[in-house]
Symmetry: C2
Subunit: 357 residues, 2 copies
Amino acid sequence: MESLEGWLASRGQGHDPLAEQHRWALLPPGKLLRPVLLMESAAAVGGSIEQVRPVATGFELMHAGSLIHDDIIDGDEVRRGREATHCRYGVDRAVVGADALFFAVFATLGECRRRGVPDRLIADATAVIAEAGLRITRGATLELDLSGTLHDDTDAYLEVARLKTAALLRAACRTGAVLAGATAEQTAALTEFGEALGIAFQIRDDLLPYGRERRPGTRTETAAAGKPRTSDLRNGRPVLPLLLAHRYGDDAERALLAELLGAGQERSGERSGERATVRAYASQEAGADEESRQERLHQLLERTGALKAAQHTADTHLDRCREALEALPPSSHRQRLAALAARCHSRRQAGDEGAGR
Amino acid sequence: MESLEGWLASRGQGHDPLAEQHRWALLPPGKLLRPVLLMESAAAVGGSIEQVRPVATGFELMHAGSLIHDDIIDGDEVRRGREATHCRYGVDRAVVGADALFFAVFATLGECRRRGVPDRLIADATAVIAEAGLRITRGATLELDLSGTLHDDTDAYLEVARLKTAALLRAACRTGAVLAGATAEQTAALTEFGEALGIAFQIRDDLLPYGRERRPGTRTETAAAGKPRTSDLRNGRPVLPLLLAHRYGDDAERALLAELLGAGQERSGERSGERATVRAYASQEAGADEESRQERLHQLLERTGALKAAQHTADTHLDRCREALEALPPSSHRQRLAALAARCHSRRQAGDEGAGR
């Protein structure tokens, strides 16, 4: 099993009623950030890329599963520029389809084993992946708890980013290290690298709708998720720039912020206490209205210094990344890990890359 | 980690926003059929119950997770005699809450390892559990594909039962065998036992609403799931007795069957193509009406010989169970496994036990 294509093909024993859905969710592939992190981490400590490749693919499966459930929860209808899985196959099938991808990542460890990874390391990796899954679900729940409230609590935001987004990047790096038989020090360094990178990426993703290259009045999508860039406005997710604007703004600015967000959520339609009703929301007029609100929001974030402060927080985590890598021996693989982090550094490049939430 | 209580308590590092939901879904415990199967299987081949106890608990977590997603998909609002998890905590939280339980089962393997199970066997068990998860999701999807159509295809029904219900019982027995270091022959026998038992239990569960001890006109619940016994009628699931009535019935009987089921599904309310709307359905009048339809359905199943034929199919699988156990050395544990299967044998005892779907 060499790749996503390979994984999809390898499931051919008998009819698999989920095959088509999984193909939809997985192909064409995204940036494969987690597989790349896992393989480069293994190689950076002297491990074999070929031996860990199956579980590297497995991390993309787990990531895809988690996006499917996220989109159900957020009521997001677009993913990577096309219909979200639950819109195409129905919520029922998407719920179980994602479950299958969670089990699949553990199944891929069997192939690493057949390629010669010792049982001890397979058992270690099983624990790492299970722990990551538990963190992600805690993060997603915490996010639901915080959703829809504007507060000053950036610690809570960072905790969600650490648990929900960073957990899988952290686990990808850690699994690569573990399966390659890295020392405890190297494993800790790669774990730290992955977690800090994940937090930085999450902040960067949340800054994407406010990137400098965006042209006012253009209805664009963020490159990261292929989602409408007004998504935050609509789903009430208290992302870092909004929290910082709330913290730094004066009374009038806070009031404006609440108004812009309130109107956004009202627009988003019948989000009941029970669940987000999946609903098309695309009339031309509403779109223009939303764009204008998004524009005013952008100006407010700029004026309060929230955008700058959020970027600064991301940079702090990127510094952690750089420091962590110093524990590894110099190599082209360490360089590639450093380059992945560096790409996150400059806002000018926002839009090229993303954690793919 | 000794038990469900122990597992819930062991998660105390920091606030876990899912703890309350998991407590709701897991306690008070059900019959713990899967943990019992796993531990008795291990002991029947000479293994240590203490070493496998953590993952035995893990199987109950996985089972609970799968019930949570099932109830969301089926729109069932009652489980074990009380509010289903998604009704109490909302669909969004229930989706991720169940995901956490899927990851948790793999995490419990770490505790078996600390209790001395060799890494090789931990890696084997990881593969068994991952495979079971994949089967369950395939079975659930196949069931969705078949849902709402009355056909003669009992093979498809049995395939759903094998994949969706039997996979976890099969995996519980197989995991017990594997972790105890059983021979290949013993492992195969326990795997066969678990699968056949699972299929028999599913048929028995589907027969429960038509058990002899039921009194006409009484609004009862099946003991297995604490669900209203008219649930099949409402969710359009083509269970074995209905398929057999369709096969054996004459034209008039088939027409009556379709009418009774059609009315049932109509009643069940707005089940859109996209997803079942969670909706209270409990008015006194509708209930009485439904009970009378259920009664006519029962008579039809009796008249066409469908109930007898379904019980016969279950018995065939229980024979497989008995034969499989012959490959194991005689012991009190083998006896207890045989007793679990025997309890399924007689319709008079329907209501005492169930696969807990």
